[in-house]
């Protein structure tokens, strides 16, 4: 390969699923200790085809079709982690993570603390999550707050192919356990991905932003609209419509849920004085409640209106025929924007 090529920074159009696949491939090529574990991730390439082709190229040893047992997947990845293996565990759908909940919350999250920092567990748990795909029960939920409430876990959710590509690699490289929540309804959305140089395999911006920071997805002055993962596209569409009606909305894509980039949200809140937070997860006791509390604590005297939340209702995820009303949609987000603008 010519030097020019090696140093070139490539940009390619990719789907989010394709971007995660490319990121996994880069991480596996870089570090032979990276393993993929999960149900149907081998020959099938995962039910969403996110690991497509990786089994063919890296073999049974590194792309492992595990027995059908989530507790087993995460629990054995912890043991492998103690021997320096960086396992990327795929949970087939978020609704099936709960057999592993014990391993994740009582073991994975606490090992570094309990061992006084002697044991690091650089695991990544990939979780396709959220709804809008017309699925049956347990295939559309958003359980991220349950994990965000657990100290010891880092939680990241990409909204763009670029963040998916960089984020998965940075999550794998991180010494802490990272839960990587993938908005499955966005898997087939395309975007430009800067794949970095052959050496870095990361975008130029990746090192600066990392997997702990948020990004301003659209600048605005009247209302701060906070979103992550599946609701970022909705937030951007809402901002566009609001602009047509004369309201300038700033959209913040949190990216990281734990840690929460409160500085960026508070800064924006101080500028606009109005904050709306939207996520698909059940609103009660959720991420938006945490954002709201932090804004209230740190920007109270700048606020013109109470912080509003637009999210899922306090019901189990209903049958798919209800999901468009159950999930936050343009009407509900714009309704909240209108309400904060009334102040």
């Amino acid at each position: 390969m010519s030097d020019a090529l090696i140093n070139a920074t490539g940009t390619t159009t990719m789907t989010m699923a394709g971007a995660i696949n490319a990121g996994l491939r880069a991480a596996m090529e870089r570090d032979p200790k990276v393993l993929l574990m999960g149900e149907d991730i081998g020959a099938l390439g995962g039910v969403f085809r996110v690991t497509d082709g990786l089994h063919k190229d890296f073999g049974d040893d590194r792309v492992i079709d595990t027995p059908l047992a989530e507790s087993g997947i995460v629990g054995t990845a912890i043991g492998l982690g103690m021997r320096g293996y960086r396992s990327v565990c795929e949970i087939q759908f978020e609704g099936f993570i709960f057999p592993a909940y014990n391993q994740i919350t009582t073991q994975l999250a606490k090992m570094h603390y309990r061992s006084q920092g002697n044991i690091t567990l650089p695991l990544v748990i990939r979780v396709p999550y959220a709804g809008g795909i017309g699925a049956i029960e347990h295939h559309s939920e958003s359980p991220e707050a349950l994990f965000a409430h657990t100290p010891g876990l880092r939680i990241f959710s990409p909204a763009t192919p670029q963040d998916a590509y960089d984020g998965i690699q940075q999550a794998i490289a991180a010494p802490d356990p990272v839960m990587f929540f993938e908005p499955k309804a966005r898997y087939w959305d395309k975007g430009e991905v800067n794949t970095g140089t052959v050496e870095t395999r990361l975008s130029d911006a990746a090192a600066t932003i990392g997997i702990s920071g948020s990004r301003v997805a659209r600048e605005g002055t009247d209302v701060t609209l906070v979103a992550y993962g599946p609701t970022v596209r909705l937030a951007l569409q809402s901002a566009e419509l609001a602009a047509q009606a004369g309201t300038s909305v700033e959209v913040i894509d949190l990216r990281s849920i734990s840690p929460l980039d409160s500085d960026a949200v508070v800064k924006s809140a101080k500028k606009t004085g109005r904050v709306v937070v939207t996520h698909e997860a059940v609103t009660t006791f959720g991420v938006a409640a945490e954002v709201s509390a932090r804004v209230t604590e740190q920007a109270f005297f700048h606020l013109h209106a109470p912080v509003l939340r637009v999210g899922g209702f306090h019901t189990p995820y209903p049958g798919a025929t209800f999901e468009h009303e159950y999930l936050p949609n343009l009407d509900r987000v714009l309704d909240a924007v209108d309400r904060v603008m009334k102040h």
Binding site: L44, P67, L68, F98, I136, F313, P316, G319
Partner: protein, 376 residues
């Protein structure tokens, strides 16, 4: 010889082979002795109607009327055979593929499709049919089955002295499910409590794309030994054998002797679900081998050989399948979207202020659109 491990035919109970010949088994043939040609025709009827209906559901999914469909295709003998061994006091905990068992429990087949059309999560009343709702989280229901069986035992419904009144529980799950902790825990609870539960594992050889060889190195039935419970491996495509072994197991459980594990070796002839693409992980040759072992065909061959499958009967069954298909199509297309407010129903048994407040807010919110429309 190749060690086939979990796919070996070691110890398989088979009373009717795929050439349609009757085989003898010391323990289980007596359990088939009472099966009259009429009863066998009933099995044939149920399997045939079930398959026709399954194909109708499949085409409804393809036409966009259902979000997803999960076929029972290929597993008719395991389901109809075992289902017919059940009686009123018994109770079933299915996974999500047991449409055939649902049928034997009197669940109206079209109603199952309400789940797959996204209208609700469970569309029948379990107590009315002795048939619990489908459970999608693999293995979770096996513990419920065990607890339910423990309850039946406490309530004197087992070994009561009147054999006709005794009941037991049958819990269905797949080969993949056997890897779940919940299944292992159920077997432990069932065993130490001598719970009247029959674990009925349909080893259809696949958990989506993964061969059963990813779950075990030995025949699944052998695992039961570790719990000290009797286990039976049965040819899951032999409706007569499936019926006989289930009857044996139910009698064992109903009479207070504790749990039994049945492994029915069968083959998932279709895809895992309509979202799956089996060409990525299995061969045509494999599919052909198993299609020669089709569970309905072998009973057809046997009944034909015995001159017990008259044309009028076959025609009547075909017509019944067609009529059920037509009724299913009509029902499915006729189901309208429920009122949105219904999504707030049944979260709790007693009023919950959060749900009430959100429901009230949503009602006002929906009304505001109606108001805008009215003023336009």
């Amino acid at each position: 010889m190749e060690n086939l491990g979990p796919l070996s035919e070691d110890g398989l109970v088979r009373l009717l082979n795929h050439q349609g010949e009757v085989l003898q088994d010391q323990t289980f043939s007596p359990y088939a002795a009472h099966l009259t040609p009429e009863k066998l025709r009933e099995f044939w009827h149920d399997m045939s109607v079930l398959r026709a209906w399954d194909m109708e559901a499949m085409s409804l999914q393809r036409q966009g009327e259902l979000g997803l469909w999960v076929q029972s295709y290929g597993q008719e003998a395991a389901q109809i055979g075992s289902g017919h061994a059940l009686r009123d006091p018994d109770f079933v905990f299915p996974s999500y593929r047991e449409h055939g068992v649902a049928m034997t429990r009197g669940v109206d087949l079209p109603s199952i499709l309400r789940i797959f059309r996204g209208l609700e999560h469970g569309s029948w009343v379990p107590a009315e049919h002795g048939f619990h709702l489908y459970t999608l989280v693999i293995g979770a229901h096996a513990l419920h089955a065990t607890g339910y069986a423990m309850g039946m035992d406490r309530d004197g419904l087992v070994a009561s002295g009147d054999a006709d009144k005794d009941g037991a529980v049958v819990c269905y799950f797949g080969d993949g499910a056997t890897s779940q902790g919940d299944i292992a825990e159920s077997m432990t609870f069932a065993s130490v409590n001598k719970a009247p539960v029959v674990f009925f594992c349909q080893n259809n050889q696949f958990a989506i794309s993964e061969s059963v060889t990813r779950q075990t190195n030995i025949p699944l039935a052998d695992r039961a030994k570790g719990w000290g419970m009797p286990s039976i491996r049965v040819d899951g495509n032999d409706v007569i054998a499936c019926h006989a072994v289930t009857q044996w197991a139910l009698e064992h459980a109903r009479s207070g002797n504790g749990p039994v594990f049945i492994e029915a070796l069968t083959y998932r002839m279709g895809a895992h679900t309509t979202s799956d693409d089996p060409t990525r992980y299995r061969t045509k040759a494999d599919e052909e081998y198993w299609s020669e072992r089709d569970p309905i065909d072998r009973l057809t061959t046997y009944l034909e050989g015995a001159d017990e499958l008259p044309d009028e009967f076959r025609e009547a069954v075909a017509a019944e399948g067609k009529a059920l298909g037509a009724r299913t199509r009509e029902s499915v297309r006729g189901w309208s979207k429920p009122a949105t407010l219904e999504m707030f129903d049944h979260v709790y048994a007693e009023p919950h202020s959060t749900v009430q407040a959100e429901r009230a807010w949503f009602e006002r919110y929906e009304q505001s659109f109606a108001d805008v429309e009215a003023s336009n």
